[in-house]
């Protein structure tokens, strides 16, 4: 089971044992991680699941797709180099240990 760690803006960390195939967003929402809203249930419609992927995982996670790219540009939170919508990151064993930070405000 891949582990994902969510880092809040106050620096607090929460690590969750996720299921392969689940998204970083749905794992967060189902377990009540604050800072990730995921209102649209993973349909790339709300941009409320923005995360900053830890540098170390930027490569295996990869860049956003076209539509996601537009959502990130126009979402509530500031965009950075490793910004992704967490609903578009499906968890695999390769991503075990993934660390993502959540923005100040979204949704």
């Amino acid at each position: 089971m891949p582990k994902v760690t969510y880092v809040a803006t106050d620096g607090s960390r929460r690590t969750i044992d996720a299921t392969v195939g689940d998204s970083v967003m749905s794992t967060a929402v189902r377990n009540g991680v604050s800072g990730i809203v995921g209102e649209c249930g993973g349909n790339m419609s709300c941009a409320t699941c923005h995360v900053y992927v830890d540098e170390e995982f930027a490569e295996p996670v990869g860049p956003p797709g076209d539509l996601e790219d537009a959502m990130l540009d126009l979402g509530v939170a500031d965009r950075r180099a490793t910004s992704r919508l967490s609903c578009q990151i499906a968890l695999t064993e390769v991503l075990d240990g993934l660390v993502v930070a959540t923005p100040e405000e979204q949704g």
């Binding site: 929402v29 009540g32 209102e39 649209c40 349909n43 790339m44 419609s45 540009d73 126009l74």
Partner: protein, 399 residues
């Protein structure tokens, strides 16, 4: 000790419970739901879940551990049959299994049920409605063995199911009584786009066609008879002709209902001690503050539930949201923001023929809403504009 009772364990009910805790409410919270599954999201039922690309567990809104950590008691498979109010905001509730619970705060998030088609033959096997995960399971099983599928109702549910069935190689006919698809939600230009887009993908669209009856042999559906005498063969009929809000409990409590439980901008019913949220309510138009609208959508359920939770907890209300909605049909992603009611002018950006465009709705030069098909950027730009309009605009002047 008594506490808060939330009747209805869908998206609105769960959000209400979670947001009450977020707002510091410390009493007990009980969430009663009639369905046997843990609380789940409905939008995938006509999309990924129906198509088989999302499983049961992916529907669940929160883990069991989450509910117990946040001290939210979830009672599934219990239907509230009676309330007994002891004062304006306290009372006892009785469920169909004889459970009772005392409460001092009450929230209704009871949702809606599918409107039934009132023609002969709807009791034949193979005639389906779609509201619950059980409905979706049944429909999926029927679709797997089907050749001909008729969808009655050219709204979002009907067109999403038609998309899934067509993608699975079924012969699909959509029958809509009005003269265009999605008539309640979008402008004629968008309706026409969807008619053509579904037709291009091999689905037969019949608008202006009423259903006279559903026909069958040995208890199974074999076809749909239209008003004009046409017979369309069918092994499966999906009826998606809208929903009826569940107002029975509210009426029993003497709350005002008008095509839904009437609530104000703080999600309070006509008894200010009782709140309601989601598909069961009608509320002032969130863009203009005027009239009463029923917004059947998950974003509205979440947004209203947050407001209701703040009301119960005595916390400041959240910043109101611009209503939004989405629909996935084949590879067409529709995103809607705002409410287009009363528009006097339309602008079409992009090319409907290229399946990538946006329609902006205006009244007196002011943006009311956007419908964007495969153009997220147009959607997001308009959504930001609508949020800014709202905060700086007539709402505040009227407040």
């Amino acid at each position: 000790m008594s506490g808060a009772l939330i009747v209805g364990a869908g998206q609105a009910g769960v959000q209400l419970a979670v947001s009450m805790r977020d707002n510091g409410y410390d009493g007990s919270i009980t969430l009663i739901g009639a369905e046997a599954r843990p609380p789940y999201q409905r939008p995938p039922l006509s999309k990924a879940y129906l198509a088989g690309s999302a499983d049961d567990a992916s529907l669940y809104l929160r883990t069991e551990a989450f509910y117990s950590e946040r001290r939210i008691a979830v009672w599934p498979a219990e239907r509230v049959t009676r309330f007994h109010l002891t004062s304006s905001d306290a009372g006892v509730v009785l469920t169909d299994h004889g459970c009772t619970m005392v409460f001092d705060r009450l929230a209704l998030t009871v949702g809606a049920r599918p409107r039934r088609l009132d023609v002969p033959g709807t009791d034949l096997a193979g005639v389906c409605y779609l509201r619950t995960a059980d409905d979706a399971d049944r429909l999926r099983t029927h679709l797997a063995a089907a050749r001909d599928v008729v969808v009655v109702g050219g709204g979002f549910i009907g067109l999403e199911v038609a998309s899934v069935a067509r993608s699975q190689g079924r012969h699909v006919t959509v029958v809509e009584v009005a003269d265009r698809l999605l008539g309640r939600a979008v402008a004629p230009v968008v309706s026409e786009f969807y008619r053509q887009a579904h037709t291009r993908r091999g689905t037969a669209i019949r608008v202006g066609a009423g259903v006279a009856g559903i026909e069958g042999t040995t208890g199974r559906v074999t076809g749909v008879l239209l008003d004009d005498g046409t017979r369309i063969p069918a092994d499966v009929v999906l009826v998606g002709v809208g929903v009826v809000p569940r107002t029975e409990l509210a009426e029993q409590l003497g709350l005002d209902c008008a095509g839904g439980i009437v609530v104000d901008e703080q999600a309070r019913t006509s008894d200010p001690a009782v709140v309601a949220a989601g598909d069961c309510t009608v509320a002032p138009n969130p863009m203009t503050g005027a009239g009463l609208v029923r917004l059947e959508s998950m974003p509205n359920a979440i947004s209203q539930a947050r407001v209701a939770a703040a009301t119960i907890a005595g916390a400041p209300p959240p910043v109101p949201e611009v209503p939004w909605f989405w629909s996935n049909q084949h590879d067409l992603r529709l995103q809607i923001a705002g409410i287009a009611d009363g528009y006097d002018h339309l602008e079409v950006h992009g090319e409907p023929d290229e399946e990538r465009f946006a329609v902006r709705y205006y009244r007196q030069g002011r943006l009311l809403a956007v419908n964007a098909v495969n153009s997220a950027r147009d959607y997001l730009v308009a959504r930001k504009e609508l949020a800014a309009n709202r905060l700086g605009g007539e709402r505040l002047l009227g407040a």
